[in-house]
Symmetry: C2
């Protein structure tokens, strides 16, 4: 598998991006192309030993910044690492693209350059949600589409299901719809109509899921509009951080010895890892016509390495092809029904 890596995207680029690439190289037989300002990237590469046969650098003179307006940036910065990488993906010069850069621009660029998979109206960002003490689940949409139509939620279910089954080895992924209550007639116009579409699909739809059940692993794929997905992800993050901070304070003030306090701190650090997004290896942009992975903007080398390794599975399993076939099935079923 050939990885295209945006060397300039994210808060810690290019240092942590390059370091992550070198680490991924050591743990795999992947080929990696880093796209970005070549002098800066080579300056970082000099620090490490690596298999230079499997790592190449492609120069790109521009950078899309986090505060750049997405569509404008993609149109004007044709020689940016992000746009160049997406063009290389389109041209078949790599199997999957990975970036920690401006999310809006990445989404816009993927749409403009790669296009949508036929039948998908709204590509989505799918984010892995860590369940403390258990398995992960996938939130689709995690924020790309703040306003949705019922049909979009069905698309999210189909795409998320395939990702969890093919990349995360989940059998017959359970799909749940975030809603106000478990009853079929609960919710907004959007969730009521989406419920019917999901129920009538061939997905393993487990019905409405109240937000309370999400952190308990109620489903493998959590379907919702992007506004709700954003609230779920960010609230969980803020809640966990605040709670852990207070637990640490409370428990260490009560520890009778310094050894006890240290023990508690170490145990809590292990738990923090359980809902560390870094472990999970980036979020796929599903529904565009190419394998595209978005990393968190603050990714360090460890997250970069994990995202690269996971992206290889994503491309290897050819999830784009799987979604394309699935959508053809949806279309022909619809036509058969209309006849």
């Amino acid at each position: 598998m050939r990885i295209l890596l945006d060397g300039m995207g994210g808060d810690n680029a290019p240092a942590e991006i390059v370091k992550g690439a070198v680490e991924a190289l050591a743990e795999s037989n992947l080929e990696i192309t880093i796209i970005g300002k070549e002098d800066e990237i080579y300056a970082q590469l000099e620090k490490y030993e690596y298999d230079s046969q499997r790592l190449s650098v492609v120069n790109a003179t521009q950078i899309i910044e986090n505060d750049d307006s997405p569509v404008k940036a993609v149109r004007r910065k044709q020689d940016s690492s992000m746009v160049k990488g997406l063009n290389m993906l389109k041209e078949g010069k790599g199997d999957v693209m990975v970036s920690a850069g401006n999310t809006g621009a990445y989404m816009a660029g993927a749409l403009l350059i790669l296009g949508r998979i036929p039948g998908i109206e709204r590509p989505a960002i799918a984010s892995i949600y860590p369940i403390v003490g258990g398995e992960t689940c996938l939130i689709v949409d995690a924020g790309a589409n703040s306003e949705c139509r019922p049909r979009n939620l069905l698309e999210f279910g189909i795409m998320g299901s395939l990702y969890m089954e093919k990349v995360m080895s989940r059998r017959r992924a359970r799909v749940g719809l975030v809603n106000l209550g478990v009853e079929e007639n609960k919710g907004t116009a959007l969730t009521k109509e989406a419920f019917v579409l999901l129920k009538d699909s061939s997905l393993n739809f487990v019905g409405n899921v109240e937000a309370r059940e999400v952190p308990k692993g109620a489903a493998d794929v959590i379907v919702c509009d992007g506004f709700t997905g954003n609230v779920i992800l960010k609230l969980s993050e803020g809640f966990a951080m605040n709670l852990l901070k207070n637990i640490k304070k409370k428990l260490t003030e009560g520890a009778t010895t310094r050894v006890g306090a240290l023990l508690v701190r170490n145990k809590l650090r292990e738990l923090t890892k359980d809902f560390n997004y870094e472990e999970e290896g980036g979020a796929p942009i599903l529904g565009v016509n190419g394998h595209v992975i978005k990393m968190h903007g603050s990714s360090g080398s460890y997250a970069v390495k994990n995202a690269i390794l996971k992206s290889a599975v994503f491309a290897q399993q050819n999830v784009v092809e799987q979604i394309t076939s699935a959508m053809e099935g949806v279309e022909s079923a619809k036509q058969a029904e209309e006849v």
Copy 2:
């Protein structure tokens, strides 16, 4: 202050409701009227000593169940404890009504019997959100209106602000709008328009609040549509329970002595109290023309007692009158602008 208490609403009625009433009586000089099946209520009252001068029972032969259809139940069960209590409130036979019964029916009943405050299009349920290690905040709407117009969010801000200032003694309550990002132009059509209305109001509007900041106490009043409010409240509850369960497991398995494990358990129990909704004393239904408090369906006597005590402050401060005046101000400002 005269409290009207629905003796038959909630999972633990009438036993825990009656016990809570007796406890509230002991800690205050309130007058309480319990409405419900009098034989059952007297049977509970027999267990306790209390000031019978300040406690009376009004018989009601029907009960609105949790699975009753709200509007139908209110129309048909005229002799239910809930409908009877709301009618007594309307007739001035009490200052505030408290119930742990069917939320939808309570909301519908309050609307039908008491009506709306002029200028309020959509009454809301406002729920106290406990911030671990800090102050509480108020989520409006907590689930009564799953779909809203921008103007409704302004109403939620005005009502929530007055509640936090008058009942929770918060000075110049900070009002925040749940949104995808902090920038003014972020979000859905709803949040973008609501932002402008809130900014142009006389509220202490602190702008958009990302969900991540809610558990950190970003604002005193968190304004959002009821779908989002429901997600915030239920996700927090589920997340906290799951996290604490795992922390307990992790920390006690590592404790070197039984004393250590016990210490950890006790400390965690203290923390659990920090986000215990029971402490907070019920959620006001804001925007109806009367003081109405909803308790959690699973309320035990401790929660009932707290809700009764808090409801007295709610009525004492005459929040309904305050909202009425505030809305008159909004209307005359609007007219002045139009002239």
